[in-house]
C-alpha cells in the first residue's frame, strides 16, 4: 500500500520541477522583452505555489527563500519594482537557488548556504528599494510568513455564546444515556464552560439511586446553529429539560478567527449585506435531525441505495477527480513499455503471417491477402500510436540549458543570450533521455570556443552579448537539433594545422572547407589552446559525435568565418525501432542501420588496391577507404569475396571514420524492432543488437562503428597513417 503522503510529496516535487521550468522560461522572456502581462503573474505564481506546497511539508528553508523571492516578484507584479536587467539577473540566479533547494529537499543533501544568504541579502536590497516596501525579515524563524491580518479584527464582534440549561430526567439515565458523553459531544461544537447545579441533590439517605437531581448550565462558544446543539440532545430530548438560548446574532459569527499552531488561520467574513440567507438559514433546516451536516436546498447529489464500501467510495471519488481535473491520465512507464514490446511482437507476427500467406501461393487479389493488407495497415497504425504515447517534447531538455548557459557564461566571463526554438518538438523518450549530454556539450562548446571574448566581439563591431541559438525540428522522419552561435566561426587554418600536428591528416592533404570544419570531430582533436574544463573536461567534439552515432544519429558543422558556426544533429525519433538495410553476407542475413550508410557503390576492379594480403583499399574521390568484408570481419568465413563481385556500402562510423563494407547482396530496407542480445546472452563484438524477421528467424544488426574501428586498426597496423592521406576526412 502506497503511503498517500509520500505520493503527494512526490507530486509536489514533480510540480516544483514544472514550476521551476515555468519560472525560468518566464524570467527569460522578461529578460528578452518578450514577456506579456500574464508572464509576470505566471512567474509570481510559480514561486508562490512552491512556497505554499513547501509549507505543507515543512520545508522551511524552501519556504523562507521562496517567500523572499515572492515578495520581490510581487513588487514587480504590482509595479512597485521595475524588472531591470540587474533585477532580472538576481531573479534568474534566485531561480537556480530555488531549484537547488527543491532538489536538496527532494533528495536530501545540502545547498550552498553562502550563495543563498548572498541572494537573500540582494533581495533585501531590492525589496527595500521598492516603493512603500515593508522590510523583509532577513530569515523568519518559523516556516509560515508573518501574519498581517490584525487590522481586520480590531472591531470584530464577540464570539457567539449559546446558553444551554440541561436537566436530565430519570428516564434519561434509565435509557443508558450518559450525561458525560452528551457533554463531550456538545464540546465538539466549540469551547464550553460548564457549571453543575447540584442544589436539588438530596441527602444520601433519601437519594433515589435511579433518580435525577442535577442540572448543567453550559456556555458554548460556537458559531454552530441551533440544530447542531439539538442534534447532540437528539436522543434524550424527551427525557430531559433543555433550554437553548441563542447568541445575539444567530448563525456563524463574522470575524471568528481560529488559529492553529502551524500557522493555520481561518476566519469567517461577515455575510455580504444583500446575501440572501433565507434558503440556507439554520432555522429552516433545524427540524431535520437525521443528517449531521444539513443540506442546502440547492444541492442535488444522487443518494446511493445502500452504503458503499470504502473502496467503492474511493474509486468513485477517483473517478470524479479524473473527470473533473483534466483529460490526461498518468500511466506507469512500465505499462507503456510493455505495450510497445507487445506491439513489436504484433508487427513481427504480422510480417510472419504475410510471408506464410505468400509462400502458400495465395492470390494477391484474394480476400485473405486483402484482409492481411488491412491488418498490416492497422498494425503500423497501432505501432505509430503506441510510439506516440512515449513521445515527449524536447522542452524538458531545453529547459536545462538556460542555467547551463548562465554558468558557462559566468565561468568564461562572456555575455551570452540563449534563444530556443521548437521546444514542443516531440521525440521518443528513449531519445530524449540521451540527447541532454550531447546538447550540453555542444552548447558549452559554442560558448567556450564558438563565441569570442567580449573585447574581441567589440573590436569586430559585434554586440558585446553573444547569441547561442538552440533549435529543434522534425525533418524527414528524424529530429534535427541545431546549435548555432554568432561567434568567430571555425579558424580553418588553425584546425588544419592542428590536424597535421596530430598526424590526423597528411601535411599536403587537400581538403575542402567543409572537410576541414569536420576535422574537429576526429578523436583526440581539440582546438582549445589549453584544455578547458568547460567544454567537456578535456574531451572534444569527437565524444559528442561518438555518443550521437551510437544513437543512430549524425552530426555536422557549417561555419562562416566571422559569422559563427552551426552544429546540426540529426537523430532517429525512437531507439525502439530502427530503419535498416537488409543484406546477406556468406549466407547470413544481417541488418545495417540506414543511418550509418552514406551510399551504395559498385566497386570497379581498377579502384581496388591491396595494402597487404588482408586489407584492400578503395580509391574513392581522391582518397583511399579501407574495405571490410563483412562476413570475414564477423568470422563467418575465412575467404574474402572478390570486391567486384560484391555490393559495397560506404559507411561512416564514430568520428566520421569511413569504410566500405562488402556484402553479397542487398535485400531492401525495412523498419526493424530492436531486440537486446544482452538480455539472455551478452554483448557480441561487431553486433549492435538483434531483431526478428518476417520468417520468425533472428537477424543480427551490425555494429558499424565496431566493424569500421576494427578495420581501421588493422589498416593502421599494416601501414603508417600518413600513407593513407585524407583517410578520415574523405
Amino acid at each position: 500500500m502506497e503511503d498517500p503522503m509520500a505520493a503527494i510529496r512526490e507530486t509536489f516535487f514533480q510540480e516544483c520541477e514544472e514550476q521551476l521550468a515555468e519560472l525560468e522560461a518566464g524570467l527569460i522572456a522578461m529578460e528578452n522583452g518578450t514577456a506579456e502581462v500574464e508572464t509576470v503573474n505566471a512567474v509570481f505564481r510559480a514561486v508562490h505555489s512552491m512556497k505554499g506546497g513547501a509549507g505543507i511539508f515543512s520545508l522551511d528553508a524552501l519556504v523562507r527563500f521562496a517567500h523572499v523571492f515572492e515578495t520581490a516578484l510581487d513588487k514587480v507584479r504590482s509595479g512597485d519594482l521595475a524588472a531591470t536587467p540587474p533585477v532580472l539577473a538576481v531573479f534568474l540566479r534566485a531561480a537556480d537557488v530555488l531549484a537547488d533547494l527543491v532538489r536538496a529537499a527532494r533528495e536530501g543533501g545540502s545547498v550552498d548556504e553562502t550563495r543563498t544568504a548572498a541572494l537573500v541579502e540582494e533581495f533585501n536590497h531590492i525589496n527595500d528599494a521598492g516603493a512603500n516596501a515593508p522590510p523583509v525579515p532577513p530569515a523568519p524563524a518559523a516556516a509560515p510568513p508573518p501574519e498581517t491580518t490584525d487590522g481586520l479584527f480590531e472591531d470584530a464582534p464577540q464570539p457567539p455564546v449559546w446558553k444551554i440549561v440541561f436537566t436530565p430526567r430519570p428516564e434519561l439515565y434509565a435509557k443508558a444515556n450518559e450525561t458525560a458523553l452528551l457533554l463531550r459531544e456538545l464540546s465538539r461544537l466549540g469551547e464550553m464552560r460548564v457549571t453543575l447545579d447540584a442544589a436539588h441533590l438530596p441527602d444520601l439517605n433519601v437519594l433515589d439511586p435511579e433518580g435525577a437531581y442535577l442540572t448543567w448550565h453550559i456556555e458554548l462558544v460556537s458559531d454552530c446553529d441551533e440544530s447542531a446543539i439539538q442534534h447532540v440532545f437528539e436522543f434524550v430530548e424527551d427525557d430531559c429539560t433543555l433550554e437553548i438560548t441563542p447568541p445575539v446574532a444567530p448563525g456563524f459569527a463574522p470575524g471568528t478567527v481560529i488559529t492553529g499552531d502551524n500557522g493555520f488561520k481561518f476566519e469567517f467574513f461577515p455575510p455580504a449585506e444583500d446575501e440572501p440567507e433565507a434558503e440556507a438559514a439554520p432555522e429552516a433546516r433545524a427540524p431535520d435531525p437525521t443528517t449531521e451536516a444539513p443540506v442546502p436546498a440547492v444541492k442535488e447529489i444522487p443518494v446511493p441505495a445502500a452504503p458503499k464500501s470504502p473502496a467503492v467510495e474511493a474509486m468513485a471519488a477517483k473517478a470524479e477527480t479524473a473527470a473533473a481535473v483534466s483529460a490526461t491520465i498518468r500511466v506507469d512507464l512500465d505499462r507503456v513499455d510493455r505495450m510497445i514490446d507487445l506491439v513489436g511482437e504484433l508487427v513481427i507476427n504480422e510480417a510472419m503471417l504475410s510471408q506464410r500467406v505468400m509462400e502458400a501461393g495465395i492470390n494477391r487479389a484474394s480476400g485473405v491477402a486483402m484482409a492481411l493488407e488491412e491488418l498490416e495497415h492497422l498494425t503500423r497504425e497501432i505501432q505509430d500510436s503506441v510510439m506516440a504515447i512515449r513521445a515527449q517534447p524536447v522542452r524538458s531538455v531545453f529547459q536545462r540549458m538556460p542555467r547551463l548557459v548562465r554558468e558557462v557564461a559566468a565561468q568564461t566571463g562572456k555575455q551570452v543570450r540563449l534563444i530556443t526554438e521548437g521546444e514542443g518538438t516531440e521525440v521518443d523518450k528513449t531519445v530524449i533521455e540521451r540527447i541532454a549530454d550531447p546538447l550540453t556539450h555542444m552548447i558549452r562548446n559554442a560558448i567556450d570556443h564558438g563565441l569570442e571574448s567580449t573585447e574581441k566581439r567589440l573590436e569586430a563591431g559585434k554586440p558585446a552579448e553573444g547569441t547561442v541559438k538552440l533549435t529543434a525540428l522534425h525533418r524527414s522522419g528524424r529530429i534535427v537539433l541545431e546549435v548555432s552561435d554568432d561567434g568567430g566561426g571555425i579558424n580553418r587554418a588553425r584546425v588544419k594545422q592542428k590536424a597535421i600536428e596530430n598526424g590526423l591528416i597528411a601535411p599536403d592533404a587537400q581538403l575542402s572547407e567543409e572537410e576541414i570544419d569536420n576535422l574537429i570531430f576526429l578523436p583526440g582533436f581539440s582546438t582549445a589552446a589549453k584544455v578547458s574544463d568547460i567544454s567537456g573536461r578535456g574531451v572534444g567534439m569527437d565524444v559528442v559525435k561518438q555518443s550521437v552515432t551510437a544513437l543512430g544519429g549524425r552530426i555536422s558543422i557549417a561555419s562562416r568565418p566571422g559569422r559563427g558556426s552551426t552544429f546540426t544533429l540529426s537523430l532517429p525519433l525512437t531507439l525502439a525501432v530502427l530503419d535498416g538495410m537488409v543484406i546477406s553476407a556468406h549466407g547470413h542475413t544481417l541488418i545495417i542501420p540506414l543511418g550509418a550508410i552514406v551510399e551504395t557503390l559498385k566497386p570497379r576492379a581498377q579502384d581496388v588496391f591491396p595494402l597487404d594480403r588482408e586489407i584492400n583499399v578503395l580509391a574513392l574521390r581522391g582518397g583511399y577507404v579501407p574495405m571490410v568484408d563483412v562476413a570475414a570481419s564477423l568470422g563467418y568465413c575465412d575467404q574474402f569475396v572478390e570486391p567486384e563481385q560484391s555490393v559495397a556500402l560506404l559507411v561512416e562510423g564514430e568520428g566520421g571514420v569511413r569504410a566500405v563494407l562488402l556484402v553479397d547482396a542487398i535485400h531492401g530496407q525495412r523498419q526493424v524492432v530492436i531486440k537486446s542480445l544482452e538480455a539472455n546472452y551478452r554483448a557480441v563484438p561487431g553486433i549492435a543488437a538483434a531483431t526478428v524477421m518476417g520468417d520468425g528467424r533472428v537477424a543480427l544488426i551490425l555494429d558499424v562503428d565496431a566493424v569500421v574501428r576494427n578495420a581501421r586498426s588493422e589498416a593502421g597496423r599494416v601501414e603508417a597513417r600518413a600513407d593513407l592521406p585524407a583517410l578520415e576526412a574523405n
Binding site: 505564481r45 508573518p146 455580504a272 473533473a324
Partner: protein
C-alpha cells in the same frame, strides 16, 4: 449523504492534499485546476462548499468568487479561500468578491475540515 466540496487550486500537490484530507473526513470531493475550470465544474455540480486558491492561471480566485456570486442560485454557496497570501488588501478583495472565509496555508487538515463543516452546516 456526504457533503460535497469543490476544491479549486492550480497545484496538483495541493489538490491531492486537499482531496486526501477531505475524503478521509468523509466529504465527496470535486476538483478544478483554476477559476475557469471551477466554473465548468459548477455547470454540472452543486457542491456544498467551495475551497479556492487565489493565485491561479486563467482566472484567479477573486474572479472565480465574483463569477460564482453573479449566479443567483449560488449566492448562498459558501466559498472559503485557502491561500498563502497574507496581504490585508488581498483579504479585503476576497471579502468584497463574496468569499465566506479565509484560510491561510499551510493548512491544518483537521481545522480545514472543521471550517468546512461550519460553513456547510
Amino acid at each position: 449523504m456526504s457533503t460535497t466540496v469543490l476544491t479549486v487550486d492550480d497545484s496538483r500537490a495541493m489538490r491531492d492534499m486537499l482531496r486526501h484530507s477531505l475524503i478521509a473526513a468523509g466529504f465527496r470531493v470535486l476538483q478544478a485546476e483554476d477559476g475557469v475550470h471551477g466554473l465548468e465544474v459548477l455547470e454540472t455540480e452543486t457542491p456544498d462548499v467551495i475551497v479556492t486558491d487565489i493565485n491561479m492561471p486563467r482566472m484567479d480566485g477573486f474572479g472565480f468568487i465574483e463569477a460564482v456570486r453573479r449566479d443567483e442560485t449560488r449566492r448562498a454557496m459558501p466559498v472559503l479561500v485557502l491561500t498563502t497570501e497574507v496581504d490585508v488588501e488581498k483579504k479585503n478583495r476576497a471579502r468584497a468578491a463574496g468569499a465566506t472565509g479565509w484560510i491561510v496555508k499551510p493548512f491544518d487538515p483537521v481545522k480545514l475540515v472543521d471550517a468546512i463543516r461550519r460553513v456547510a452546516a
